[in-house]
């Protein structure tokens, strides 16, 4: 366990001055700014209707993030993290160090998940900040004190339901040492995910549509967070096993 923590700390050190780390801030900020811009433009039409403006704002934020931005974010982050080793052909020296290989695989996965969940935290905080600012600019918009639960609970579900996709994308990025392969896979998966959301047959099972199904009210297919979490554990175990056995030529 001590070795795992040491390897994890080196993975954190490698993030210094990287685009991957900046993306944790930039990706949710894009959605926050987009939502703010839309809210600011439409603010006059909200004026006076008295309805709670948080609910649509939160719903839109969660949906845009989950359906579009998050798959791209995961694809980019896993590719960038794998690229740290692929670009300098660093695998051979990293894996010639005395750390067990599984610690390297799991550390990189933990870092990816931590970055995704950090982005979610920023998204929640930023949305609250942006709503508060809108309310300050347009006090007539019903954006008072935000009830946290309607935002945090869906985002927590998305965080768990995204794990299966993250684990698969993580393995793909480490398996093929090229950006195009990992990015191509992620983009294809994202497009399929968008289309399969509509499919009652495949949607509830497809790893990239599980997150959006997890937040859709009355979605079919059981508990998507549990499904994704269990799937992630299995896929993570298989991916790690393959990585440990892999030959570095």
């Amino acid at each position: 366990m001590r070795m795992f923590l040491r390897v994890l700390s080196t993975e954190c050190l490698k993030l210094k001055r990287t685009l991957a780390l900046w993306m944790v801030l930039v990706a949710p900020l894009v959605i926050i700014l987009l939502q703010f811009a839309v809210g600011y433009k439409r603010a006059p039409s909200f004026t006076g209707d008295g309805k709670d403006a948080w609910a649509p704002m939160v719903r839109q934020t969660v949906e845009i993030w989950t359906l579009l931005m998050m798959p791209m974010f995961v694809t980019l982050e896993t590719s960038l993290l794998a690229g740290l080793e692929n670009t300098g052909r660093n695998w051979k020296s990293l894996l010639a160090l005395p750390a067990p290989r599984w610690t390297v695989y799991v550390s990189k996965l933990v870092v990816t998940i931590a970055m995704l969940w950090s982005a979610h935290a920023i998204l929640i905080a930023g949305t609250i900040g942006s709503g508060t600012l809108l309310h300050t600019l347009y006090p007539s918009i019903n954006l008072g004190r935000m009830p946290l639960a309607p935002f945090v609970i869906p985002m927590a579900k998305v965080s768990l339901a995204a794990l299966l996709g993250v684990v698969i994308q993580h393995w793909v990025s480490l398996r093929w040492q090229s950006y195009p392969a990992a990015m191509g896979f992620g983009i294809c998966a994202m497009i399929l995910g968008v289309f399969s959301v509509q499919s009652a047959e495949f949607g509830p099972w497809f790893p990239w549509s599980l997150p959006i199904h997890a937040v859709i009210a009355n979605a079919k297919g059981g508990d998507h967070t549990v499904l994704a979490s269990v799937g992630a554990l299995i896929a993570g175990g298989v991916g790690c096993w393959e990585f440990v056995k892999r030959e570095i030529g």
Partner: protein
């Protein structure tokens, strides 16, 4: 086996239908600089990757410090530094940050970073981003990484590849001093015989995946013998002509080399009568390079 730093027993590596390394049994003594010599594609890098656990041998045993690599990988790798071909560095980090990564994994003291930076001649550049480094500096940083912690052996794959002449000289000086000044056994691969002559105490020659010679430089030197060096206008024709008259010869570095020094005059006459111009004829000692080329069946024209 216990006294050896590296010992392999009939190690073979097969890639699908191609046998990259066949029955290689290395014996690396402590405190030596063991040069693993062979032409490109001979199987040196494959062997080195197996020594570091990056590739699994198809058959055979590998032991370092008397410990089986499969069972004691962690313990062996904590005592073995490596530099495999190009230096593996994170260009967006400083030299010090690059060293911090193996330092944490090896659980070495922080002061070790200053020690290895000084050994590698990079003490002045510790806080500089590696993307601003020359290839020579990156290679020295790679060596500094390999020296972190309590390393008893260094495995270096073509450590002077891609360096300019000054960088090559710096790297050779560094490597040569390691066993004496730091008590480290060095195992390095190269395809440059001149490099080996300057650095090594022991040599292993690999040819087409097989170890064709293993011993000290002195053992290799003993293979030197007199030879007849002949420069001719049409080497291929000349070899055939001499063969028909019962003289064996090989084309090495553009010269026909024959061991039959007593037949110099007869060979010369035969070639001239056969319509082949002879522009050079001398009796010389065979160089180490020629021994190497002979062993590896390489022909350099």
């Amino acid at each position: 086996m216990q006294d050896l730093v590296i010992s392999t027993d009939a190690v073979t590596k097969q890639f699908k239908s191609k046998t990259a390394v066949r029955d290689v049994s290395l014996r690396v003594q402590p405190g030596s600089v063991y040069a693993f010599l062979g032409p490109n594609g001979a199987g040196k890098s494959t062997t080195i990757r197996m020594l570091l656990g990056l590739l699994r041998p198809t058959s055979g045993e590998i032991a370092l410090f008397g410990l089986d690599l499969r069972q004691h990988r962690g313990s062996i790798l904590s005592r073995t530094g490596s530099l495999v071909e190009t230096p593996s560095v994170y260009e967006h980090l400083s030299a010090r940050e690059n060293l911090e990564i193996p330092r944490r994994i090896l659980d070495a003291p922080r002061s070790d970073i200053d020690r290895v930076l000084a050994i590698a001649g990079l003490a002045h550049a510790g806080n500089q981003l590696v993307r601003t480094f020359s290839l020579g500096m990156k290679q020295r940083l790679g060596l500094a990484q390999a020296l972190l912690g309590k390393r008893e052996a260094l495995i270096l794959d073509e450590p002077t590849n891609g360096l300019d002449p000054a960088g090559i000289q710096e790297m050779r000086t560094l490597i040569r001093d390691l066993p004496v000044e730091h008590g480290v056994t060095v195992f390095l691969s190269s395809h440059l015989l001149a490099e080996i002559e300057q650095l090594a105490t022991h040599v292993g020659v690999l040819s087409q995946g097989e170890l064709v010679f293993q011993g000290t430089i002195a053992d290799l030197e003993r293979r030197r013998q007199s030879c007849l060096r002949i420069g001719v206008s049409e080497p291929a024709l000349a070899i055939g002509l001499l063969e028909r008259r019962g003289w064996d010869s090989r084309l090495i570095n553009g010269f026909l080399i024959s061991t039959d020094t007593g037949a110099a005059a007869a060979i010369n006459r035969t070639l001239l009568e056969g319509g082949i111009d002879v522009h050079h004829l001398s009796v010389d000692a065979v160089s180490l390079e020629e021994i190497f080329l002979e062993m590896t069946h390489a022909e350099v024209c």
